[in-house]
């Protein structure tokens, strides 16, 4: 019993760290993007203020049960992903609940939040929500192909589907990282990472100028607060996933923070440089070079 309580406590602590790091990362990234565009940008503590404001909203509107549950699904998906993700290698305190399932569980659990959110937005009744979801799903299907191919390549390379074991295999210096030992599969995975983080050029799904009129306006107050909370956790967790897959995992929190920031920064960097794809363009894009890389990665292990 003591074990479980301790476990829960450590996990909760980890969650808090990840959440706060996620929010800080958001403001840093916003700042960078603004500076590239010649603007000043937000204050570094703006996300916390936003969150407090959102949770503090006095009155709220609801379109129905599913609408209400949408954000719950969403954050359950994000936190769940966090729970099944081993954070720090070799430290059982920070391995969360990774013993419940392997990499496949992580891959499929992502959809839990996506589906719930999509349904919640759907009940909101705003036509833009449906458009956003349809675009998101469309893009996601093809993002997933190079991702799957890369994952299979890694699973075969390390002969395991356990993320912990994959990280273990990468210990002992940069030369053992997947990005070095299996550059092609890594390239495929990194391409799909761009799609997963949905920065430009793959940000039509969020389409900052149009789609936010849909879900983010329908979801206000604490709904939006929950969604923002989730976004912060989610971004870091997904970066952790790629860190574990490609960059040797992390042995302590400092390493984790640096690595996740750099990983995330890749997408930001590309996003700042490139304009936005239309949805059919991005669908076709992922069926081009990333797919070929993925197939190449598979052929190499066959």
């Amino acid at each position: 019993m003591e074990n479980i309580a301790a476990k829960l406590l450590w996990t909760f602590l980890g969650l808090l760290i990840v959440l706060n790091w996620g929010m800080l990362k958001t403001s840093i990234v916003r700042k960078i993007v603004a500076r590239v565009g010649g603007r000043y940008g937000i204050r570094w503590y703006q996300p916390w203020i936003n969150l407090i404001k959102l949770y503090g909203t006095r009155g709220q509107l609801s379109h129905g049960v599913m609408f209400y549950l949408g954000p719950v699904f969403r954050i359950a998906g994000g936190v769940g992903l966090f729970l099944f993700m081993p954070l720090i290698f070799g430290d059982p305190r920070w391995s969360n609940f990774a013993f419940a399932g392997d990499l496949i569980l992580l891959l499929y659990f992502k959809f839990f939040g996506m589906l719930g959110m999509a349904l919640g937005a759907g009940e909101g009744g705003h036509p833009y929500s449906a458009i956003g979801v349809s675009r998101g799903l469309s893009q996601y299907t093809t993002v997933e192909i190079p991702f799957t191919l890369g994952i299979i390549a890694l699973a075969v390379q390390y002969d395991t589907l356990s993320l912990t074991e994959m990280v273990a295999a990468q210990q002992g210096g940069i030369a053992n990282w997947t990005i070095v030992t299996n550059p092609i599969a890594s390239a495929a995975l990194l391409f799909s990472m761009l799609g997963i983080f949905m920065h430009a050029p793959f940000d039509l799904v969020k389409a900052p100028n149009e789609i936010p009129i849909g879900p983010p306006t329908e979801y206000h107050g604490s709904y939006l607060g929950v969604l923002r909370t989730n976004a912060a956790i989610m971004h870091i967790t997904e970066a952790v996933l790629f860190m574990n897959l490609l960059f040797g995992g992390a042995n302590n929190w400092i390493e984790l923070i640096i690595k996740t920031f750099l990983i995330y920064f890749i997408t930001v960097f590309i996003g700042v440089v490139f304009p936005r794809f239309r949805i059919e363009q991005s669908v076709r894009f992922f069926l081009g070079v990333p797919l070929i890389l993925g197939i190449l990665a598979i052929i190499l292990i066959m």
Binding site: Y68, F97, I145
Partner: protein
Amino acid sequence: MVTPIYIIAIALGIAFSLGFFSKGSKGIASSLFYLALTALTAIAGQWLIAFLTGDQSTVEVFTSGFKPPFSISLQMGFEEAVLLSMINIAGLLGAVYLFDQFKKYGAHLMITYLLLIMGLDVIVMTRDLFNLFVFLEIASIAMAGMALITNEGKSVQAGFKYLTATAIISAFFLIGIIFAYNFGDSLYINELLMSEGILKAGMVVSFLIIMPLILELKPFPANGWGLDMYQATHPAVGALLSGASVTASAYVLYKLAPLGGEIGYQVIAILGLITFLGSNLAGLKQSHTRRMLGYSSIAQTGLVMIVIGLQPMLGEMTLWIAFSILITNFLAKSGLFWLAGIINKDELKSWGILRKHPILLFLFVMFVIALSGLPPFPAFFGKWELIMALANSGNAWWIGLILLGSLIEAVYLFRWVGYGIKDKSFDFSINCSTYKTIPIYIMGAGLIAFVGYYLNHYFGDVVWYFIPLAFAALMFILDFLPAKLKNIIAIIGMGGYAYYMYDHFLGVDNLRFFFALIFIVGGILTLIPGFTKSGKRLGFYPAALLMFSGLGMLISATDLLQFFIAWEIMTIGSYLLIIRGKNSIKHAFSYMLFSLGGAFTMLAGFAFAQSGNPGIGLEVLSNMNYLPGLAAALIAIGFMTKTASLGLHIWLPGAHAEAESDVSPMVSAILLKAGVFGIILLFIGIGAEAATNHPLTYTLGWLGALTALIGNLGAAFQEDAKRLLAWSSIGQLGYILFAFSIMTHLGWLAGLTYTANHAAFKAILFLGIGGVVFRTKTHNMYEMGGLIKKMPLTFITVLFAIITLAGIPPLSGFAGKWLFYNAVIMKEWYLQGTIVFFAGIIAFLYSFRILYAVFLGHLKDKHRKIKEAPIWYLIPQFLLMGFIMLFSMQPELILRPFGDMISAYFPTDALTWDNGTALTSLGYWNGFRVGVIIFILFGILFGWLFLTSRKVKKIKSFNIVYAGEAPERPETTHMAHNLFAGYNKALGFLVAPGITNIWKWIDESTHDLGDFIRRIYTGNAQTYLVHIVAYTVIVFMLINFSI
């Protein structure tokens, strides 16, 4: 025993005396006439009974005490007794049917009719060649005379053509007789057959004897004169031609065929095959009922010719096979021609009138099914034996061509059945006089009796096997009861069947028990919504139980024959179920064609598989000798038509979507699994070791993957909710095919998991959407929307089903995905696997679409007062949801038995269990922990939102942020139509109807070919004479050439 001479004496005597009756004494004349026919039938029947019961031996009768050739000899053996009984029964019943015509025409017609029947009788019995000629002439003169009953231009023309054609054929025959006498020095057939002289004379003589007999059977294409008779004369004449006349002529050919020696047999078989194929092809485009029946009759005759020609190979089985085909054609064709007379309209579509006469409709459908050679009717057994014998003697091509011909025949026959069951465009009524219906009933009863006889003959020792079939038959009889009562009876019956399965298979053969669960328990669950129907729901329960009994029989089948019969019965039942839908006529038709095509390839595969094996038990699948690769591929294709694999899938969306609300789950969640069951049996036969690099399983793996991709992609672009689900079934079955093709322990585990999951969630989805359709009366998703508020319970079940479908943890769908990844990586099928995973992600598109477009968004104005789906729809959904929850939370409970089942075939323990955690060499997963974590997490986070959100106010659906405007029309605000437009732009080309177009092209070009072929029937009597002469000359040349 009354000697058969009396047949001639009575017929001739009465026929002559009828001439003396003036118009005043019609009553006596007609009594005498019917008495005479009855007497003929009685004589024939008495001999038949004597042969059947005692040890009566063949009798030969010589007229006036002389030996041949100074007298005529008649032989009465078992075959003759059977055929005479058939002819005379046809004669008697036909006369009853023609009652009004005899009243109208009086003695003249009666004389003609009696002479016709007598002529046919003697043709069968006579052993004298010249006598045969005489009676052939008498029969054809009388037949031509019968053409005058319908005294109109067309009928007279037909009679004239018939007369000239048979006259010229008889002339040839006469020449043949002269030569036969000259060289063989006898006219006594028994002597001629052993005569050395004929052999020495070379083939010309036997050619001149046999060729006219072949021509009498109206071989394609020298048969325009016969077709016209079928088309233009009174339907009763068509019945006689097809039933009695063909029977007699075929027997003559059988009698005299030995004259031709080996080459003669070959020629007969080849000409028969050409007739069978050509006539069916030419019949394809036919829209005139009786002419179409004519094509079919001639095709059947061709089949009989094949059997006669293959006699050297078939040996003792020849008569049995020929009889099976003849008796079916005899009973069914007579019945159909008589029905045509009652309907008295030329167009096929006019048969829709039978909707108003259920008993006649039942007989009609039964006759056609029998004619198509489907079990359990006699013709099926004949074909089965024929195909098996052909395979045993290594004649693969013959099998292919015969089955092709059968399929073509089924095309036009089942198109016709479709009209009969569904077409509503008739605008007339029919008059069913008792004297016209009674003969049809008798033929129907006869057919059923023969079904009993054949089943007893083949399965006398396993009668229990057909108990479910008997139950389905009982439902036919009980069809007058109200639907609710029948539903209770059906469920009770199915319950009994489920208990039987439990008793017989649990622990003995768990794999079979598992499928029995899906078939029977699934069947019970999908029957429950039937309680919403009021009235009688005519025809539903017999069809449904036919299907379920077929499914059940698949499980308990122990040999190929039983399995195939079960398969076909299931197909017939499901066809009758599917065609009940409002717009199903076309889709049910295409379903039937694909099913039959599949069944025929399977039949060929079975035939190859059993060849060289001592028996036909299912174990032959693991010991194929003759063309093993082809056999396995054919069997697999057969099963894949049912699982709707890519290329064979085009029938499914229409058939499943247009079926009735409670039929869709039956056919989609349950019926498709029959194909899966078959594939499993086949793969078990191939065996784990042989399958490591088996080209078939490898190909099927790719095919399964592509099917999954195309099926799911197709589903994403549907606007029709049921079509979406139907396409999704195609995709899901693609996964299943893929999983089993992996042929490893894990692969099969994934396959079984998918099978169980699909059965559960697809039933929920079709029932849920069925309930929605039941309320909204539309299939189009963009016409729905916002229904979550009106049908929350349905939404919950559909949501759970979709989460399972998508494979999202914590529900059981994830078990399938997880096993899949492990299996794929271990099998090293990375590329195929990736396609399957891609397909899995595409499934999200339609998963979201169906939930969103139907239940979320804006409620349509006309749906504001809609109610929750009926409770009878909800009950099975929640039961199935219970199963999914159990599977999700305690996967070990279900996966462990699966693993034990599979261990019998794939002994490696690829999956181990450690305290609830599933372990493979690659990964691990604990369903219970994941479930608990997610549910607790969900609860906590829900609490978090609940705490932080205050004063939540419910608002109306249009209260959204919409550029300052307030939208008011759900139609314009519910963004549901063409939801994945961008995706369609990018990848829509993948589901462009390419395969459909290929099939369409095949369909059209076959029809065009048929249409082209039938152009030789110009209608000119002279052309037909040219055909006969040319046919004779060409066949002669070809024989000479090939010798």
